[in-house]
Point group: C2
Chain length 336, copies 2
């Protein structure tokens, strides 16, 4: 699959100014989440670790940023017809939440076997749920059909310029906060990758600042790493991972084009590393994250990226199942 | 027990300026912890809830503030002889940590049956541990003997002006942050009470600002409420509670004198309320607190204080046993 010239041109043209513009547009609606230094997770003589707490974001994940930005960027006459999406994860909640802020209806296409708690979650935010088969293709088809019928706008989960710039605002704040606190910039930032919206936004937000952006994926769900290795986007089969937020089978086209020019490295983490990182964040740093949200720290706990003296870690979200977290605490608490 | 006239005079004389001076002295050493609005814990149409995240403080609790302040206030020639304390909780870790910042030795008198993890905790911070019986009287006697022999200064856990002003800096930041964020002040702040250092500091920090300070104690460990009811300090027998940080049998003399003129109300919470509040903080607000740290929220979940439209809640600390938290998640996760 070769990217169109148009996508390459856009990937090259976008930059920090676009992310700053997105930040200005969504300020006051999303939370400017805290950046905290994790003294309790640092090794003696090791690098400083700075955590960007997107688990403290509205709806418990950074996805609120992109959804709020993308819906805000719609033409008002289009937006008035409502919005649709077909994610069943944090993006679904983010779209439901942002639609409510904008006062427009939201419809979420979910699988027939979606966990009740997720269905209840988007309904509690005022969104309508339509059930459509069990595969992502079926959900996407249902969303398209709805779009054709109602004219409601589809809010893409990650492969979209407005989403990417919205998600990039998290990294912008992290980089700015650490610079303000220390007088020096971060050397590197660890970013969990599913479809690549957050990491593409991280690249854009920091272009020209000398900060190395590193992607982190679950082992087996390494669509970005494999795509970069092969020089083109590849699909990976669904693989089991604790990090249910990082499972897309293919990264976004725009996101890949940005990543291929900007990314400094990629890392794969396994479930044991994710579990231990999650529990250390809880017990030491006192922050509750979902497994996907612990992926960046899992890499830092390996002592990577090497030679970085000041590392930023994006804690992407905190929407974890309490029973799972209880089990992980039992399993890893003594080693935390 | 009647307070000396001297104590009453001091209680009346102290105020926000003393707390601001303490804040200036400890700035850069302690963390200016985030104040976050807990949208996910608010009821539709209910008051705003603002959380002061002292679980994200150095050593995981607000006690770092008072210890750092009190040790910093010692005459350098006295401080050079080292410091001693006899708490086995967060204050012990705080003194060990602050002594290291000041480059002086710390000795902690602990019970012979102290949990290994607490002993290891203060040793990891470079403090020396001396074991002294199993009661608090024995530990206090050991500390006094050590003071006589070495001249090292005793750092009181709560009944001390420098400790009170140091702890008050947490409330000062909370009140300032909410005012800066909203343009309006808090109506009330919920403060967990053990020996009363934090709540006395909260009273001082907010004098003249029209913010109602409310004390929260575990049922059965209600030394402050009973003392206020009787008009003098009374001792309460040790009672079982999840909130092991809120068990002192008597509040401080200075603290009581401040509280009796300034406190707007007192509240008692039981273990079920503490457990549910702790789990809601975890699952909804994404913050890991110890049971004591959840006491303020437990009162807010009752809809108190009535008529307050903007409530501050101090999350005092996050040093909870992972196994206990896992059990509470299992017990309350479904209701969170």
């Amino acid at each position: 699959m070769t990217a169109s010239k148009d996508i390459r041109t856009r990937a090259a043209r976008l930059g920090p100014d676009d992310v700053r513009a997105a930040a200005a547009r969504i300020a006051g609606d999303v939370v400017r989440t805290p950046t905290v230094r994790a003294f309790s997770l640092e090794r003696e003589g090791g690098p400083e670790l700075w955590l960007k707490c997107e688990n403290l974001q509205r709806i418990g994940a950074f996805k609120a940023r992109g959804a709020q930005h993308a819906i805000g960027r719609l033409d008002p006459s289009v937006r008035a017809r409502g919005v649709i999406t077909f994610s069943s994860g944090n993006h679904a909640q983010a779209v439901a939440w942002a639609a409510r802020i904008h006062g427009v209806p939201a419809t979420i296409a979910m699988p027939e076997d979606a966990p009740r708690i997720k269905v209840a979650g988007v309904r509690a935010l005022g969104a309508q749920v339509v059930f459509a088969g069990t595969t992502s293709d079926e959900r996407r088809a249902a969303a398209l059909a709805l779009h054709e019928r109602t004219g409601a706008a589809i809010i893409q989960p990650f492969d979209d310029e407005d989403i990417v710039c919205g998600q990039g605002t998290a990294t912008l704040e992290l980089a700015d906060d650490v610079e303000a606190a220390t007088g020096r910039g971060l050397d590197a930032i660890l970013v969990p990758v599913g479809g690549g919206g957050l990491v593409a936004g991280a690249c854009l937000a920091t272009r020209g600042r000398g900060i190395a952006i590193h992607a982190v994926e679950p082992a087996g769900c390494d669509a970005m790493a494999r795509s970069l290795e092969q020089g083109q986007r590849v699909r990976v089969g669904p693989a089991p991972t604790l990090a249910d937020g990082l499972k897309p089978v293919q990264v976004g086209e725009l996101n890949f084009e940005i990543a291929r020019t900007d990314l400094a490295g990629t890392h794969r983490v396994d479930d044991d590393e994710l579990g231990l990182a999650l529990v250390r964040l809880l017990v030491r740093a006192k922050l509750f994250v979902e497994p996907s949200g612990a992926a960046g720290l899992a890499v830092a706990l390996r002592g990577l990226p090497r030679d970085a003296r000041r590392i930023g870690v994006i804690l992407t979200g905190g929407n974890a199942d309490p029973t799972l977290v209880a089990a992980l605490l039992e399993r890893w608490g003594a080693e935390a």
